[in-house]
């Protein structure tokens, strides 16, 4: 019997094989969205558990990877919804020194903060399209929506960011991000 059929019937050995085969892929996808390795590991475990729980609904002729990635994306969106918006990433300096560097770091933090305040769905679409440069087709597939809807989300994200960050570009780099 096929591995996916055995998984759909609840065989734990088949699921173990699938976990070992796809855990890296799922983790890689989640970490691109949440950008935190610890959180991505937790969400990968949660994704795999949900995949196992929902095995009865899985069609063995479908793609396991695509199905798991959709579950993972939904979990990542839920996480972004609940995450504290003030949490900022620490950006490593690019090698330049002095006040210029500090100014640049401050600017990057403001951009991160503004980005993290975007609604979760816009954030995910913008992360995948603008930062990770994924195709609109791929993003639409994992979000379970149309290409047009993804383009609209990215457009809205850019518009909000432009509004929140316009002072950064008009006032020599560093200024308050709009609330």
């Amino acid at each position: 019997m096929d591995l996916l059929e055995r998984f759909a019937q609840g065989e734990i050995d088949a699921f173990e094989t699938l976990v070992r085969q796809f855990q890296g892929q799922i983790y890689g996808w989640i970490v691109r969205i949440v950008r935190d390795p610890g959180v991505a590991e937790d969400l990968t475990i949660e994704t795999l558990w949900r995949v196992y729980k929902a095995r009865g609904r899985f069609r063995p002729d479908a793609s396991f990877a695509a199905w798991a990635r959709r579950i993972a994306t939904n979990l990542a969106i839920d996480y972004l919804r609940t995450r504290h918006s003030e949490q900022a990433l620490v950006v490593e300096p690019a090698g330049r020194a002095g006040a210029d560097l500090l100014e640049q770091q401050e600017m990057q933090q403001k951009i991160q903060q503004a980005f993290r305040r975007l609604p979760a769905k816009l954030q995910v679409a913008a992360t995948l399209a603008l930062i990770e440069e994924r195709s609109y087709d791929e993003i639409a597939d994992v979000l379970g929506t149309s290409v047009g809807a993804v383009k609209l989300r990215v457009f809205r994200a850019i518009r909000i960011l432009r509004k929140r960050l316009r002072h950064l570009w008009t006032n020599s780099g560093v200024s308050e991000v709009e609330r």
Partner: protein
């Protein structure tokens, strides 16, 4: 929105969110297995239905409680 503005935002985002390491450093199977094992088994609907029927019967005929207590 001009293309230049859009490009400016794209570039700013890429600078502010450096590439992440996408490689998984450890095997997550033991954690997944633990998660599956600790999952509390849900009570099936027919058990709830049975409880509801028994409660209703006991309310209708309280002496049934004694019969149940004898048999359980």
């Amino acid at each position: 929105m001009s293309e230049q503005e859009e490009r400016q935002i794209r570039e700013a985002l890429r600078r502010s969110f450096p590439p992440v390491d996408t490689e998984l450093r450890r095997d997550l199977w033991p954690d997944v297995l633990r998660r599956i094992d600790t999952q509390s088994p849900g009570v099936p609907w027919y058990d709830w239905a049975l409880i509801a029927v028994m409660a209703a019967l006991c309310l209708y005929a309280p002496r049934l409680i004694l019969v149940l207590a004898y048999h359980l």
